[in-house]
Amino acid sequence: MTAQLPALQVAIPLACAPLCVLFRVRFVPWLLFVVAAVGSLVCAALLAGRVASEGTVRYAMGDWRAPAGIEFVVSAFNTPVLLLVSLAATVTAGYARRSVAAEIEPRRRRLLYACLCLTLAGLLGLAVTGDVFNAFVFLEISSLATYTMIAMGQHRRALLAAFRYVVIGTVGAVFVLIGIGLAYAVTGTLNMADLAERLAEGHDNRALQAAVVFVFVGLAVKMAVFPLHAWLPGAYAEAPSVVSTFIAATGTKVAVYVFCRFAFTVFGAALVFGVLRIDRIGLALAALAMLVGSAAACFQQDLRYLLAWSSVAQIGYILAGVSLATASGVSAAYLHLINHAVTKAALFAAAGLLVMQLGSVRLSALAGLGRRMPWTFAAIVVAGLGLVGVPPTAGFVSKWALVTALVERGMWPVLVAMLASSLLALVYVGRIIEVVWFREPPASAELEPTQSPATPASMVAAIWFLVLLTVYFGIDPTFPGGLADAAASALLGSGGE
Amino acid sequence: MISAVMVALLVTMVLALLRAFLGPDRYNRILAINMFGTKTVLFVAVAGFLFGRPDFLDIGILYALVNFVATIAVLRLSHYEELVSGRSGGAGE
């Protein structure tokens, strides 16, 4: 059965989705999501083990050999993504039961779980596929399910945010599709390895250059790179807490992986960074994203919007690492991708818990609550320090790696932007701490202790698991570091695959 | 002869299109588009003959069917909307 793992990786969550819709018993949809998440985590772990010992694993769908059929490729460059996505799903599954019960009306719950399964399947498929059109199909599945979940948010604003994301995201997906179509017209193949072989020369082909631009602009929308980030804050902040926890950890991260995959193993670094100089544009946008995202986060009045804007900045860090196109840069980007995913998931999960207990996470409503809810706020503070990059959190390790990579290439302006952005991060995290611990609670809005519902242990456990993981990765970064290094060398080393 | 029929159909399509653009009200447009649809059915049938591909005719059947459903849907649903917003019919451009 181990030979079938790559297919099972996607098939398990995909099969759980229609089952969620079919069963009406109350807890079954949740259980199915747990099965999907744990099943994919097991598959990912086993696959990671196999890749570490045997190298790249290929799987031919329908037993049709690669260019004719679709193949799944598992290699060092996507095992971290598979692990990250399925781990995030598993933690979310633990968090989901109480959170969904509190936030979503009963009629919609099984639809939400079905969409969670679909998003999971889509993201995993996007990570594992070795075929460009198949990647587009999985991109569509995950995006469509995400739009639906965002629209289930509690306020009417969620509908607006979802609509905005639908419009922008669809344009992005169409751009990716146009790019894939152009690449097909130039090569006659959709298989990534085959494409890479046929694109090794002929870099002055204008159709090919346009293909690169279209694919990357489309992916930039999905990654929420700076000028195309407009959908992100609303989408993350208005979605149900489970959803923002899950997609903040995975959505943009998988898009970054796909970006790397296209840049290094499909179009080739020589074309993307050598001829078209995407690296300069990437670095410039990354620097802008860091500054704008962090600055905007400082001015937010709502905790979840603050976190969402900080994500815009963090995408900048990751993009900067990728755009360096050096082994150390890509490795740092992967490391930051993992660390930031864990940290941001912890923060959104904690914010979700607050929403459930207080009804609002406007900073003014949080004043002076630090002593009443020490555990939740302690989690927010530790994870927040991770965002700033204070040792011994994971954020410090990956930012340090990024700084080293930037210095190596002498990218001083980006380095300055990064430091400035970290200082701004200190400002907005400091603001949370100040409001929560050092401000007096407003007398009028004082809640009686009995009024707030009991804290569900499963949610707290999920939050603290993520927080402790952040700290652990900060103290002992060998595991994520090893994965990131292997990924970077797999991407940069062997050109074709 | 078949080519001549094709040209005639194309000219008719353009004429119907002009009516669809000019309006002036909703019913004129529906009429024009319905006629355009019938002409497309014929066009596909004739094209199948001209280029020697009779399996185009399946598409012709589909067009005829779908065109009818769409016309009924426009009539039915545009009427609903009128009731909701309380405007009288035929709001043109």
């Binding site: 399910a145 017209a185 | 589909l62």
Partner: protein, 330 residues
């Protein structure tokens, strides 16, 4: 040849004129109808390109179901476009010009139309699809072979996309109302018109028969599960439009719809898991009949197309009924 060029140019001009007319129109019903016209012309162009399956899909989806669904949406909202503030025009214009410019730039190096030495034609997989498929799978319509077997996973993905879209509508608009919750409208009852009632009654069986023909003829001619599903749905929609939602729900009950929506993806994935258990790869239909791989492929393709057909029909019908019952109940 002359006629061919003339026809193509005329259709292209019609297409562009329609697109401009749509973009300048504020009355959305009219825009939707012109959109249907646009799809008709596009489908005709696909016919001329000899892309019969694409033309089939475009006609069934673009002209039929998407027009009906758009109209259903318009019946729930305002039907006149709000005036876009002028300051929003400029960024949109810039974005469109940039994208168009990039496409124009790309078109300079694209292979010539129909060139025999283009990369797509010279790539070995084109040969595989066109010739090898006759031995491997043995069905005349190569499009179906590629769609259901060679790239079956993509098709599964597309089916899941349709399924997800159905979930999205269910979560946003809510499920179709129960028959007893809907109140029949006193006004424009098409069912009161004897002619349309009788004609629709006569047409219904033919529509469903045609859908079945499209479903099972997909191996030989244009068609397949997606198109057949849409035609089924068009039939039910017509029935609902003419006879009213309550009657239509007696024909296709809510429970059946709910099960059918999930059944398609389940059958498709289940088929993949079954081929795994039989010792093959995911969606390797050869193992369904180990002694005659070709027969196995036929069986697999048939099951896949049927699964697609049922789910697409169920999703489209559900979506339409949901929209319609929003307008009728309350």
């Amino acid at each position: 040849m002359m006629t061919f060029v003339l026809t193509n140019v005329t259709l292209l001009v019609i297409l562009i004129a329609t697109a401009i007319a749509i973009s300048r129109m504020r009355a959305l019903y009219e825009a939707t109808m012109l959109g249907a016209l646009f799809s008709l012309v596009t489908a005709s162009l696909f016919v001329l390109l000899d892309a019969v399956d694409v033309a089939f899909t475009e006609a069934a989806v673009g002209v039929g179901i998407s027009t009906v669904l758009l109209l259903g949406v318009l019946a729930l909202t305002r039907s006149r476009e709000a005036v876009t503030p002028r300051r929003r025009h400029l960024p949109a214009l810039i974005a469109v010009l940039l994208a168009g410019g990039a496409l124009g730039y790309a078109s300079q190096d694209l292979p010539a139309f129909g060139a025999a030495d283009s990369p797509v034609f010279s790539h070995p997989i084109t040969g595989t699809y066109l010739h090898q498929s006759q031995e491997d799978i043995g069905i005349p319509n190569t499009v179906t072979a590629v769609l259901a077997s060679y790239r079956g996973l993509d098709t599964l993905g597309e089916l899941v996309v349709v399924f997800t879209a159905g979930l999205a509508v269910l979560s946003l608009v809510g499920p179709p109302a129960r028959p007893e919750e809907t109140m029949p409208r006193a006004d424009f009852h098409l069912a009161d018109y004897r002619i349309i009632r009788i004609i629709s009654g006569i047409l219904m069986p033919f529509i469903l028969l045609f859908a079945l023909y499209v479903l099972f003829h997909g191996e030989y001619g244009p068609g397949g599960g997606f198109q057949a599903g849409v035609i089924f749905a068009a039939g039910f929609v017509l029935y609902g439009l003419v006879f009213g939602l309550d009657k239509a729900q007696r024909v296709v009950p809510r429970v059946a719809l709910r099960i059918l929506v999930s059944l398609g993806p389940l059958v498709f994935i289940g088929l993949g898991l079954a081929t795994m258990l039989l010792g093959g790869q995911f969606l390797d239909f050869d193992v369904l009949d180990p002694n005659h791989p070709e027969e196995g492929q036929h069986l697999g393709i048939l099951l896949v197309e049927t699964a697609i057909g049922f789910t697409v029909a169920a999703v489209m019908t559900t979506v339409f009924f949901s929209f319609a019952s929003r307008g009728v109940s309350r």
